[in-house]
């Protein structure tokens, strides 16, 4: 059965009729032609469909579109402004943090989410118990926080460097 929903994607309003079975990922790719979120495993295990959903990084392959009527979505395509890449995207380019590139849009969106979560003081499982205040995004923290994004090329070393550089640049800008 079809239902009309509204999605705001990368700053643009869309009205789209979706079957109740449609995921947010399929609504973006198949209905709206927004193909930066990638369909990898389609079971929530690889992270390539990650976007910022209402401000938080989230996988979209297990989220039903009809349940996210009215959502604000930012994909890797919508991160930059005025033709400029987002600092995290710049860092990925600078550090050669991509090989085949299929997982990259999800990695980039996830990294943007990681920086926000760390800025809010959110712990990860490797953060010391009782540690308060600023989270230091060292290699261990970045690897743990980015672990929901798989890269079959194994470009992890450069991805971690890119996220570290983006974190440092953001810290310097504060």
């Amino acid at each position: 059965m079809e239902t009309e929903i509204r999605l705001r994607v990368d700053g643009q309003e869309h009205e789209v009729a979706v079957d109740t079975r449609t995921t947010v990922l399929d609504a973006l790719r198949e209905r709206l032609g927004i193909t930066s979120p990638k369909k990898g495993c389609d079971h929530g295990q690889c992270g390539s469909c990650t976007v910022l959903l209402d401000g938080r990084r989230a996988t979209t392959c297990l989220a039903l579109a009809v349940a996210h009527d009215g959502a604000e979505i930012v994909t890797a395509e919508g991160l930059g402004t005025d033709g400029e890449l987002h600092p995290v995207q710049e860092a990925f380019v600078d550090h050669d943090a991509l090989q085949c590139g299929y997982c990259t849009p999800g990695q980039v969106c996830s990294a943007v989410g990681v920086l926000r979560e760390a800025a809010q003081g959110w712990p990860s499982v490797v953060t010391e118990v009782g540690a308060e205040g600023d989270i230091v995004l060292d290699q261990e923290e970045i690897a743990e926080r980015m672990s929901g994004n798989l890269c079959r090329c194994g470009a992890y070393v450069n991805i971690v460097s890119a996220v570290a550089a983006a974190a440092e640049a953001e810290g310097a800008g504060r």
Binding site: D19, T20, R21, R57, L62, G113, W122, V125, V129
Partner: protein, 339 residues
């Protein structure tokens, strides 16, 4: 995927009445487990009642010093909540051990309790599974059992419960609050999940149409000294082979165990409250030797399968490691050797 109708619940009572009136209806929370099951053909409801926008998303203080966690509180929010981090670090760590950052941003407290086993045979509709299809048999019994149960299983099912959060909640004596057609119920989380027996298709004691509205964490000041440790096949983003949640109350000497709360994950059909281990540890110094005695007491009745006998020593070693993290170093402590 079979077509289904979708309805967004306007309030909890409406959601309960709607699902209760439709045998083929199910609640939809974030859907991170349910939607996967719809895709895999494990379940095929004809109506989903979306409860994800019900205002059950508060973490509130209770009079006894505990916390009431609304069923729609996101795993990421609960893990980061200052009161949870300070008063129940075991719960924060368990939540952060589960899934990935993206999934924790979606998944909810109520949904996490209801996630179903990740047994590979349950997830594969081409194989027999008494949990998915009652009476069809169990492919795991003669299959690959590295991830399966060593305690509390039956000849009908050897699957384990996948939640980390629920293991910490079992150690904390949390209470699940539900709303059903007959009103509110309060169910200790240790009684909430079932052992398989001859009805492994029933994961919990919930009735059709009964909705989780909250989880209450009782006040337990000494739970500030608590930890969760999860052992898995890769460093992160994998289900537990074994996990251990411990909260310790120590005597004034800083090393004798006055009271212990221990729960284990990855070894049974439900979050396993380790009462025998707790009993064994009480009154003893928190040393490696006493932890091993406690683990022996708990695993005495273990029935390992072909591929998972390693879980018995793994429970022992992990319990030692968690207690080592919790007890301040004392010169000559025999836990030093395990460091």
């Amino acid at each position: 995927m079979k077509p289904f109708r979708y309805e967004r619940a306007t309030d909890a009572a409406h959601a309960v009445a709607t699902v209760a009136a439709h045998p083929g209806a199910a609640f939809l929370g974030a859907g991170t487990n349910l939607v996967d099951h719809l895709k895999l053909g494990i379940t095929a409801p004809d109506l989903l009642v979306d409860v994800s926008r019900l205002p059950l998303d508060e973490v509130a203080e209770l009079d006894d010093g505990g916390l009431r966690v609304g069923a729609n509180v996101r795993n990421a929010d609960l893990a980061a909540h200052p009161a949870v981090r300070a008063r129940y670090p075991v719960l924060s760590q368990a939540l952060l051990s589960g899934a990935s950052g993206q999934l924790r941003n979606l998944a909810t407290t109520g949904g996490n309790l209801l996630q179903r086993t990740r047994c590979a045979y349950f997830q594969d509709p081409s194989t027999p599974c008494n949990k998915r299809d009652p009476g069809s048999g169990c492919a795991a019994l003669e299959g690959w059992t590295r991830y399966h149960a060593i305690l509390g299983a039956s000849s009908h099912c050897v699957a384990v419960h996948p939640s980390d959060m629920a293991v910490a909640m079992a150690a904390l004596d949390a209470v699940v609050v539900t709303l059903g057609p007959d009103g509110e119920r309060r169910i200790p989380v240790t009684d909430f999940h079932r052992l398989p027996g001859d009805a492994p298709h029933r994961d919990t004691v919930l009735r059709h149409g009964e909705l989780i509205t909250a989880v209450e964490l009782p006040g337990l000041p000494w739970a500030a000294r608590s930890r969760y440790r999860k052992v898995r096949d890769r460093a992160s983003y994998a289900f537990a082979l074994v996990s251990v949640a411990v909260a310790l109350d120590l005597e004034d000497d800083g090393r004798t165990v006055r009271e212990a709360r221990i729960a284990l994950g990855g070894i049974a059909h439900k979050p396993w409250r380790a009462e025998r281990a707790e009993q064994a540890l009480r009154g003893l110094p928190a040393t490696e030797e006493s932890c091993r005695t406690a683990a022996d007491a708990e695993t005495a009745d273990a029935h390992p399968l072909r591929d998972n006998a390693f879980k018995i020593p793994l429970v022992h070693n992990t319990l030692v490691a968690v207690v080592r993290d919790l007890v301040p170093e004392t010169p000559g402590s025999s836990l030093e050797g395990a460091r």
